[in-house]
């Protein structure tokens, strides 16, 4: 299936639902790793919205990227409870381990706040990290 077919399919899947835009954006992000200009255009047409409206929504939310990034992503929680448990002291080593190969992104809270520092890779969560454990996660990402 071509990517434009896939896109059309995602739009058709959700079109009849109330508030279809966010579910569509989630699926597009998951399928293509981003919601780019082409997708915005197709979605706008499909939902009878202006491109500006769709772009306004895409750019509002942290989950949607303008451009796909082929690198693996490690999300690290840097909210208060994880700070209280020392996540900031791990960041130098984490950045070194990541280098250019891995993208580290910041997330504010994964709901594991008694057991930080915590990270997420894909849908898998990791708790009670120390520098060695986090570095290993990043190296294996």
């Amino acid at each position: 299936m071509s990517s434009s077919q896939k896109l059309a399919e995602i739009i058709a899947d959700h079109k009849g639902r109330e508030g279809a835009l966010l579910p569509i954006l989630h699926d597009v992000q998951k399928e293509f790793g981003c919601v780019d200009e082409n997708s915005e255009k197709a979605i706008a047409e499909g939902l009878n919205l202006s491109r500006a409206e769709v772009h306004g929504v895409v750019s509002f939310y942290h989950d949607f990227l303008k451009q796909a990034d082929p690198r693996p992503v490690v999300q690290i929680c840097r909210a208060e409870s994880c700070k209280a448990r020392g996540v900031e002291a791990l960041m130098d080593d984490a950045n070194k381990a990541a280098g250019e190969r891995v993208r580290l992104s910041t997330v504010y809270c994964l709901g594991l706040c008694s057991s930080g520092p915590n990270a997420r890779i894909g849908d898998k969560l990791h708790a009670r990290l120390d520098s060695a454990a986090l570095t290993k996660l990043i190296e294996n990402a």
Binding site: H26, S81, Y108, G111
Partner: protein
């Protein structure tokens, strides 16, 4: 064959529960995956015939099975952390398989909904009112009054919206309900639907909770025939903290930017797609099935103090020895929670500060530990119960850095609608940075001789602090919602109690 019980809660899994369960199966035991007891420092916790072992690793399997393990904590239900609680919302925690309809029914599930259907809308609202239940999402607004408003509104369509955006650091009770007792939340929503005449419900669930999304999707499908004609649907958020604010959440559900709406109109009258809408937090709705049981409302009302009725699932987090979920009647002091139940810091160092109520809550000094858990008492102390997350910091914490982070967080998560929040938070970061480096000198164009109206010198740290105080006043009074309006509380409390952390 021995039956082993291990939680499948996200925290237990993040600490290795799946690998542990597999190891027990390999050793020939049969494993049941249950909800979590909420003693998170012991996860993964293994339960064998009511006795607990934790935190366990695959290396402990043999010893646990032959009874020689030194990780035993005795009978779980008698552990002081559990025995001291009064669990209503979390009555099933640790005891049932989250997605088992059999387990749910066998523990009183659906009896609230059944009774609600018998007594009818007016009586339901009356019971929720008389229970004294207040919204658990942060503002503490009486749930019954909100329901009454929606019930009284005339419309062809009404909605029940569950706020499962739980963005506050230090909170995870919503997550534990959705992963551990999802049917209770759905039952609460169906009862709300019955009360106000809504047949459609949405759960707006943050995308940072993949396990909860998965469990809720499954639970909604499994019980569709029981809650019908009420229909429930799960919608994932997209990483914006501000979408926990109810009107921003409604915009997001409608497929718009998550910008906050001005009130009025109240969502109760013009909410989702302009229709009358109940927006309640997960904990508010999950408390409802119990309240609707015979005698549930009066029991709820009999617990707690003053106008804070019933129980609160308090979340102990951060640098704390015994972190986890502690549901207890209102009135308990912060000192008891942190020092006695929580066992002090995990690092063993002295407690320096405690943040209650998430990123918008004040930093509380140990001198204030006698403050009782009560909405009004916290408000009087310029503090916030919020969603009842408690984040503990030890004496290595840099409170100047935490104050700066409060501004940084506000800047990152502002919806952008009003100036004091959108710009104020950025300026707040800059001012705090300047305080911490000792003020500022005149620079650039300011030093030109023709700039007659410029101050003749830079600003001292004291003058910068004055500026920060002014900025905080502006944010407090000039912001549309509590993101901009409450960010000054963590900032100013940090400055008040730990001024030395602002001078380097």
């Amino acid at each position: 064959m021995t039956t082993i019980r291990i939680s499948d809660d996200a925290l237990a899994r993040a600490c290795g529960a799946d690998e542990l369960a597999a190891a027990f199966e390999k050793a020939g035991a049969s494993v049941e995956r249950t909800s979590s007891w909420g003693m998170q420092w012991l996860e993964p916790l293994v339960e064998v015939d009511g006795k607990g072992y934790g935190p366990a690793t695959p290396d402990d399997v043999t010893a646990i099975l032959d009874g020689s393990s030194d990780k035993g904590i005795g009978v779980i239900a008698e552990h002081p952390f559990i025995a001291g609680q009064q669990r209503l919302t979390f009555a099933r925690a640790g005891k049932t398989r989250p997605l088992s309809l059999d387990d749910y029914e066998a523990t009183g599930g659906w009896s609230g909904l059944k009774r609600a259907r018998e007594i009818g809308p007016e009586a339901i609202v009356e019971e929720v009112l008389s229970s004294g239940l207040r919204g658990r999402g942060g503002a503490g607004f009486p749930a019954g009054i909100k329901w009454k408003t929606v019930a009284g509104a005339q419309a062809d369509q009404k909605y029940i919206v569950c706020n499962a955006d739980e963005g506050d650091s230090g909170t995870f009770a919503d997550r534990m309900v959705m992963e551990g007792d999802p049917f209770a939340l759905i039952e609460g929503m169906a009862i709300a639907g019955e009360a106000v005449g809504a047949t459609k419900g949405y759960v707006y669930l943050r995308s940072e909770y993949p396990d909860a999304i998965d469990k809720m999707e499954k639970a909604v499908r499994a019980c569709a025939h029981i809650v019908a004609p009420f229909v429930c649907e799960i919608r994932a958020g997209a990483g914006a903290y501000v979408c926990g604010e109810e009107t921003s959440l409604l915009n997001s559900l409608e497929g718009k930017r998550g910008e906050v709406r001005a009130k009025p109109p109240l969502p109760a009258l013009k909410g989702l797609f302009g229709k009358p809408t109940v927006v309640n937090n997960v904990l508010t709705l999950a408390a409802v099935p119990h309240i609707l049981m015979e005698g549930g409302a009066s029991l709820y009302d009999s617990l707690g103090i003053d106008r804070s009725k019933g129980t609160m699932p308090i979340q102990l987090a951060g640098n704390i020895k015994h972190g986890g979920l502690y549901e207890v009647a209102f009135g308990i002091t912060l000192g008891e929670l942190v020092n006695e139940i929580g066992g002090g810091t995990q690092s063993g160092r002295p407690v320096k500060a405690v943040q209650v109520g998430g990123p918008l809550g004040a930093y509380i000094h140990p001198d204030q530990f006698d403050i009782p858990f009560d909405y009004e008492a916290y408000t009087a102390a310029d503090a916030l119960i919020g969603h009842a997350g408690i984040t503990v910091f030890d004496d290595t914490a840099d409170m100047g850095a935490m104050a700066r982070f409060a501004m940084e967080f506000c800047a990152a998560e502002s919806c952008g609608k009003c100036t004091p929040c959108r710009l104020g938070a950025v300026r707040g970061m800059e001012v705090i940075d300047r305080i911490r480096v000792g003020g500022r000198e005149l620079a650039g164009v300011e030093t030109e001789p023709q700039m007659h109206n410029m101050p003749k010198k830079g600003r001292s740290p004291d003058e910068e602090i004055q500026l920060l105080e002014d900025l905080c006043e502006t944010m407090k009074f000039g912001s549309l919602c509590a993101l901009g309006g409450f960010t000054p509380y963590p900032v100013m409390s940090a400055l008040k109690h730990w001024p030395e952390d602002f001078r380097k």
